[in-house]
Symmetry: C2
Subunit: 502 residues, 2 copies
């Protein structure tokens, strides 16, 4: 009996340590060899008996593999003459796979969409997977009541029928919608029907939902500048033009928008706590904004991202609470009030659009995890949510004060914190206004400290250099040390800057 | 002391039964009255003492409300003269809110995007929130191991640091990516680096991610006709043109596509189990498809939606396993193998595109619930996932056989089931090919039975009327009764049809 060739034997070399059955291994190897041409089409395979002997495996192993590969079309049996490599599609060009060649080929296939390319390496997104002082927008994860949340989730899974495991209503669970409607009435003065609440996987998804549901190609948007990067990116992603509108002391400068741009279809604002600079939009500006939206027939997105946390006084009611025109889409999130990883948020849509948003949600992602929605509803109904917010408000106030004191004690030559009555981060400005805040933020990152440079939020506006320092995620007992470390790092980096810019 | 007017008293009428503090109630009512003009601008408010007496509440309640509303800008205090309604933005036109008028106004604001409008009432989506025999695509939720899953979730929440509560890496947890890479190698013959795995919130989101990352406006797509509604909807949502390609016995008819259309940028196929008709794409067709994609430089989406469940024989390896060109985007989901409500899936992207997909995921929804990803990784690592699939395969085989027998016993005059070796639903055809399957499916829905009419999957193709009957979600002991009920319903509805169409 002719022995199997050495080349084939080494090609079909099996790994007895691997968890994968030998038959399966053999199939994979033969398939690969056929596809890359090392087993040429129409070649005669060794007999099962011969191959079994040469590979030192049972004949059944070989037979099973040949049978499967014959079913699949890689091999074919010719009566009385044995098993052959099948003659596959005529056009096929065997290609040796090598990771180097593969990578090269990628660039030949069509380009990546430019908006995706642009943000691939953006600072705001690439560092988002870390939880590190003083990252803005991250709550006190060290204090999140994991056990209570885990129990709510188990209860949701235990106590309900199959409904909660299925696709469910795409706009969300009624029970959670009702809890949210009660919450926004109480905390933000918004009166809405629970059906107007659309459950999303967070604010980011809400932005896409709104853009895809209410705008059509060619539509335009006005937004604050400096403004919310994530919204600007979402608008770019979906191809809408943005008119950047400067800020004044009351926030979004309506007069500037009207003087500069044609009427738009959508206005994006953060009235409670401008993102990132932090001013509150005055009542009269809010009313003017609603009037303008009416006169030019545009929608308004109100992103109310961290209004739960206010320290010295209660916030103004939401813009949505003033909206008699049914034009405001209110976007809320549990990322700050619970934890970002849960991916749960909501939008309150104008009445009459419930079905449209439900359909859009189906198109974008079917729905949002139902057991988690149920757990969140329990959490809100039994008061755990409000009690967590109350506790966090105290914690954040302490962390804010600790950070401000540490900055005053150690960084007063470098950074000047602005007043902060709301939210989870301080706006700080460099006393030397000629530095590059992006360079310095990168230096801080290298030194183990996270923060966001103010200038990354700008589009056309001039923004004095500064840093957003998130205090919510930084345990009190670490704040002072981190500030000292940051100051050392900045002091070391400063001369570099000044030399560079002279 | 002048008494407060009766109109104002009834306007400010407080509800002592409500859980909301009286101060808060008073604020809400005054705000509303100012906004709708029932408290005219510049009007003098009653004194706090007078109002307290008239409303029967403490003076402090009134004072606090006035103070808050003054801070907000609704009221203003004039020295020595009391409190007045503020003179708000000059342009403001008071509008009485009434739900009727609101609803009317909605239609005056810009139109809803046409793709969203079109699917608002689509059969495929609106009934998705029910779990009812014989809905296709729903697994055996009655048998899902809730306790084990709930324990995996608690373990994930318990055992990890803050990282798992934060934003996390947008393309997913490394641990889960590794588990998925091992799974697709073992079950689908796909060799990939774990970094090529992008965690999504299900196949639907994967479609949007791919379209937004790899296509640019004006790009075109070829897809199977009849084909996957959810993909067609997603492509419409993002504005891409679709060339509908008919099917032959081997699936997607490449020759027809080449004869009919200009080269496209993306090809969407379901090679393992054509959606909805169920044929398997032959090996030679797969290789030809890869060749064509190479020659015209297009991407391929392989949606492998239910390949875990195969009964008489092992499936062909995935198209992705044959892809030496780095062109195939493999889309997998846990909706069928676990449960739809978890919203977890994955795509395996060509190497070199990892960063682009990670960025796109950030833009669309930041990421996917991390504790859930961790729980899923545990579930895969400890064998629970494979063991669940093995059990379900047996259950589904039994349910399939029970359904086929019941149809043969009771429905042979009406419906003819086609062979089913894979997946979770039967394709059945009406013996009378002149009926309207959509009408009949609606009649069945009214009778408490869910299924999908074949014709809703078509675009331009001619499709003989039939029903997709999902057997996975129907407990064995209910199948026979449901079929009997369905037959009664269909028999009652048939004459109507025939009369209509004569």
């Amino acid at each position: 009996m002719k022995k199997t060739g050495g080349a084939m034997l080494s090609m079909l070399n099996l790994d007895r340590q691997s968890g994968m059955p030998l038959t399966r291994q053999l199939e994979n190897k033969i398939r690969k060899a056929v596809l890359d041409g090392s087993l040429p089409q129409n070649a005669r395979m060794p007999s099962t008996r011969q191959l079994a002997t040469d590979l030192g495996v049972s004949r059944l192993t070989i037979k099973n593999a040949f049978e499967q590969l014959t079913t699949e079309g890689f091999l074919e049996t010719r009566r009385g003459s044995g098993t052959y490599v099948a003659i596959l599609s005529t056009g096929i060009t065997p290609i040796k796979s090598s990771s180097k060649r593969r990578r090269k080929r990628t660039s030949k296939v069509g380009p990546i969409a430019p908006h995706v390319q642009r943000i691939q390496n953006s600072l705001a997104t690439t560092r988002l997977s870390h939880v590190r002082a003083f990252r803005p927008g991250i709550p006190a994860l060290d204090l999140f009541p994991r056990r209570a949340w885990s129990e709510a989730y188990s209860r949701a899974l235990r106590s309900h029928d199959s409904f909660l495991l299925g696709y469910g209503p795409s706009s969300g669970l009624d029970q959670l919608k009702a809890a949210i409607a009660a919450h926004v009435l109480d905390s933000r003065g918004i009166e809405c029907d629970p059906n107007q609440v659309v459950i999303t996987s967070g604010a980011q998804q809400a932005f896409s939902l709104i853009l895809l549901t209410l705008l059509t190609p060619g539509d335009t948007i006005w937004m604050e500048d400096p403004g919310h990067i994530a919204f600007r990116d979402a608008a770019n992603l979906h191809g809408f033009g943005i008119g950047s509108v400067p800020l004044d002391a009351e926030g979004f400068s309506l007069s500037s928008a009207l003087a500069t741009y044609d009427p738009c279809n959508l206005i994006f604002v953060t009235p409670s706590h401008q993102h990132p600079l932090g001013m509150t939009m005055s009542l009269s500006r809010r009313l003017e904004l609603l009037d303008v939206a009416k006169s030019q027939n545009s929608w308004i997105i109100e992103d109310d991202y961290d209004s739960e946390f206010h320290y010295e006084q209660r916030p103004l009611p939401a813009l949505k609470a003033l909206d008699k025109q049914n034009r405001v889409l209110y976007v809320g999130s549990f990322s700050k009030s619970m934890f970002p990883a849960m991916r749960l948020g909501y939008l309150i849509c104008p009445s009459g659009l419930e079905a449209a948003f439900s359909a859009a949600e189906t198109l974008l992602s079917q729905n949002v995890s139902l057991p988690q929605q149920k757990a969140m509803a329990y959490f809100m109904e039994d008061g755990s949510f409000n009690s967590h917010i109350r506790k966090m408000k105290q914690v954040y106030q302490t962390r804010r004060d600790t950070l401000v004191t540490a900055l005053q004690n150690h960084a007063s030559n470098i950074l000047r914190p602005e007043p902060c009555l709301t939210g989870m981060h301080l706006v700080t400005r460099f006393t030397n206004s000629s530095v590059s805040d992006q360079f310095l933020a990168n230096q801080l990152w290298e030194a183990g400290i996270d923060c966001l440079p103010l200038s990354i939020f700008r589009d056309q506006a001039t923004v004095d250099p500064g840093l957003l320092l998130g205090f919510a995620c930084a345990p009190e007992n670490q704040i002072n040390d981190k500030v000292i470390r940051a100051v050392r790092c900045l002091e070391a980096a400063m001369p570099t800057i000044q030399v560079t810019e002279e």
